[in-house]
């Protein structure tokens, strides 16, 4: 088969581009450590979340030194807890599930973003920055009221976070 010299050059450059793209994704995973949402969590009965330790009472709790876990339930049409309050400059792992249909969980303007599928628990870990209020959006169509489904993720000072929790407010 005859292939023009320029075309060979183009072919080589194309393959190089493809390898660079695969390389950049691989680097993102092993270098900065961008982990994928994966199958690490066990499946869950979406219609029996009331009986589940983590999701019967959606909340944020401290699980280690400056490490927090946020258990979030998405439903038609909202998120619990709301707002989700987490301390600044900490590591927060979100565990998110749905009690009805497929939803999205997106902290607007950040890369905290995952699908929420009934029967599964999505796990994403983020590092919070300084104090800020973020919008929380369902980014997958979930029914006629999809556009009203919103929440907040409030990154607050450590003191405020402790105050809220000591005050009996479990958010």
């Amino acid at each position: 088969m005859h292939i023009h010299a320029y075309e060979k050059l183009w072919l080589a450059a194309s393959i190089l581009l493809i390898l660079l793209l695969i390389g950049s994704v691989t680097y993102g995973a092993v270098g900065p450590g961008v982990a994928m949402v994966t199958d690490s969590e066990q499946p869950i009965d979406a219609q029996a979340l009331d009986e589940d330790d983590r999701f019967s009472e959606p909340r944020v709790e401290q699980v280690g030194d400056n490490e927090y876990a946020a258990y979030v339930v998405a439903y038609q049409f909202g998120f619990e807890p709301t707002p989700i309050v987490v301390p600044e400059n900490s590591t927060v792992t979100f565990y998110i599930t749905s009690r009805d249909v497929i939803h999205g969980f997106e902290v607007a303007g950040t890369n905290a973003n995952t699908m929420v599928v009934p029967g599964e628990v999505s796990q994403i870990t983020v590092e919070t920055d300084d104090r800020q209020e973020y919008g929380l959006i369902c980014n997958e169509y979930c029914g006629a009221g999809h556009h009203v489904m919103e929440g907040k993720v409030n990154v607050v000072s450590q003191a405020e976070f402790d105050d809220r929790n000591d005050g009996g407010d479990d958010a």
Binding site: V25, G28, E106, A108
Partner: protein, 596 residues
């Protein structure tokens, strides 16, 4: 000497029956385009809060209609028309039996009507029928059974269409045992082989799970399983939209440019690569799905990146072919030849602008495919920004541009106004440039896709590349231009259909510079390629599907139904049947009384 004076026969002169089918398919396609455009403008103005003429809850009916009519009806009806033309033309023989051809056309039309009616019924609450599930119909959101049944019927129609072309090819092969498969037929056959593999999954999802579920035969489905089966089909279907455009770029565009295709063998290589790589990549739509292991996502990502190769090769071949055409027309210089191209021809300019936008769409696609940066834009309006460049322009604009070239040959009617045609394709390009660019920008800000009201009460989007509101204005203007462009296209075509028939509209397609005999014979071995394609699909999907079923069960763990269709349907049925049963009982009782 009368032979020499008579004009060359056009497609419709040679194959009048096939030409009728092609026209019918194209008109069905454009009918869907018209409906899709109406819903498109309603949606654009609603989303951007310029004019909200419908309640926001109806937005999702509009969105479902826009999506399904555009990417299923418009694209696939055009495809079956174009492929019928391409097979007949390149084999230079009629189809085996035109009744079979009309049969699949009718089946597809009936299927799409069923699905379309079930969607549009959503506007009328009294009808107790709706399918507000969008193009992706993710369970456990449920549509009326007719939505799923119509899709299944439509897909079966497309399978018979493929069989029709394969049988016609085999008949040709018996008469021409030693010839290479003509290029256009080769493109049709490889595309259809890919389609059989890809659509089998969505057919299985619909027939085994979603349709029985919507009819109440099973209580629940596994949302991850049906979602994965959807994307098994959902990625290759984008190549099903794109391959007719590629066929036109490879075989028609070089001719319009005044030249010929650069390389026939490489065109074959590209179509074989699409057959091999289109399907084992669907999981890249599920990078952010829980319940699917990271490793499967990584494999899908690498396959996806290699899928760039055939498109990059296409960019080279198409540009080289066009440059060759320009130089044949007297073009010179490193870039000076660009001025020697037929820019006043709407078919040429439309296809070139479509190709240019496809390059931009390719780059935003690389971002989507990049597993980790995908977090930034997943399910944001960036994604529709991306696919309005690919299917919404590379495909749609190529189809419209090609219509200016092909319609005269299948009808013997010259285009009503080529100037309006030229204006129309340029307006599409400008409209899409505005709309798509602003959608990409909003996506990076985190503005979600698929929502009636992207403004929220609790927070404001950060400002980048202009604020949210300013980008909304761009989207609204862009969407309006696209609507105007569609109206011009349809109007021009309708006026064309009113033109008197003339002769002399025939166009021939020249052979490639480097012809099929330069291509290794193995390229024509469709069995081999289908075998490898199936192997790759099994490698990419066997383990993920097994894992998904293992986790969630074949029929899902404790997942409900939203909304439940069957309960009210059954209630109505019961209400209708109960008095009937009572009446029959009375009749039976009186009969018994009479007899005794």
């Amino acid at each position: 000497m009368s032979d020499a004076i008579e004009a060359e026969q056009s497609f419709v002169d040679k194959f009048p029956q096939e030409a009728r089918v092609v026209r019918a398919a194209l008109l069905s396609s454009f009918f869907a385009l018209t409906l899709g455009a109406v819903f498109g403008i309603v949606q654009t103005l609603h989303r951007t809060d310029v004019a909200r003429i419908i309640p926001s809850t109806d937005y999702y009916t509009v969105l479902t209609a826009h999506g399904v009519f555009m990417v299923i009806s418009f694209t696939i009806f055009f495809l079956v028309g174009l492929f019928t033309w391409a097979v007949t033309r390149s084999l230079d023989r009629p189809l085996i039996d035109i009744r079979i051809t009309w049969t699949w056309y009718a089946i597809m039309a009936v299927g799409m009507t069923m699905t379309g009616v079930s969607i549009l019924a959503g506007f009328f609450p009294a009808l107790d029928m709706s399918a507000d599930v969008l193009f992706t119909f993710y369970a456990p959101l449920q549509a009326h059974p007719m939505f799923y049944a119509g899709l299944a019927v439509f897909i079966v129609g497309s399978w018979i269409a493929g069989a029709d072309w394969f049988r016609t090819f085999l008949a040709w092969k018996r008469d021409h045992p030693d010839e290479r498969i003509p290029l256009q037929t080769f493109m049709v056959l490889t595309t259809m082989a890919m389609w059989y593999i890809a659509s089998s999954a969505v057919a299985a999802s619909v027939l085994i799970f979603l349709l029985p579920w919507s009819l109440g035969f099973i209580d629940q489905v596994n949302p991850t399983l049906t979602r994965t089966l959807f994307w098994f089909f959902g990625h290759p279907v984008v190549y099903f939209w794109l391959m007719p455009a590629y066929l036109l770029w490879y075989t028609v565009l070089p001719k319009i440019a005044g030249g010929r295709l650069f390389s026939d063998p490489l065109a074959r290589v590209v179509f074989v690569l699409f057959l091999l790589l289109s399907t084992p990549v669907g999981i890249h739509h599920q990078y952010l799905d829980p319940g699917i292991a990271e490793g499967f996502k990584f494999i899908s990502m690498t396959n996806t990146m290699f899928l760039l190769l055939p498109s990059l090769l296409t960019a080279f071949t198409v540009v080289a072919s066009v440059e060759y055409g320009a130089r044949q027309r007297g073009g010179t210089g490193l870039l000076g030849w660009l001025t020697d191209l037929p820019w006043r021809d709407p078919a040429f300019t439309g296809m070139m602008l479509a190709g240019l936008m496809f390059a931009a769409g390719g780059f935003s696609g690389m971002v989507n495919a990049g597993m980790n940066i995908n977090y930034m834009i997943h399910n944001t309006i960036w994604v529709p920004g991306h696919f309005h460049l690919t299917v919404g322009t590379a495909v749609a604009l190529t189809f419209m541009a090609a219509t200016y070239w092909i319609w005269p040959q299948i009808s013997n009617k010259p285009i009503y106004s080529r100037s309006i045609g030229l204006f129309q394709v340029v307006v599409w390009f400008i409209g899409m440039a505005l709309m798509s660019n602003a959608m990409h920008a909003q996506g990076i800000m985190g503005v979600p896709r698929r929502t009636a009201e992207p403004e929220y009460s609790g927070f404001e989007y950060a400002t980048m590349f202009g604020g949210f509101e300013e980008l909304n204005v761009q989207i609204a203007i862009g969407g309006t231009l696209l609507f105007v462009s569609t109206v011009l296209f349809i109007g021009n075509l309708v006026l064309t259909m009113g033109n008197p028939k003339v002769s002399g509209l025939a166009e021939s397609l020249p052979p490639a510079l480097s012809g099929p005999n330069d291509a290794p014979k193995v390229l024509d071995s469709l069995r081999l390629w289908v075998g490898i394609a199936l192997t790759l699909v099994v490698l990419a999907y066997a383990l993920p599907l097994a894992a998904i079923i293992n986790r969630g069960g074949l029929l899902g763990p404790g997942v409900g139904t939203y909304p439940a269709w069957i309960a009210p349907t059954l209630d109505a049925l019961a209400a209708a049947v109960t008095p009937l049963v009572g009446a029959i009982g009375k009749v039976a009782a009186s009969l018994v009384g009479v007899i005794l």
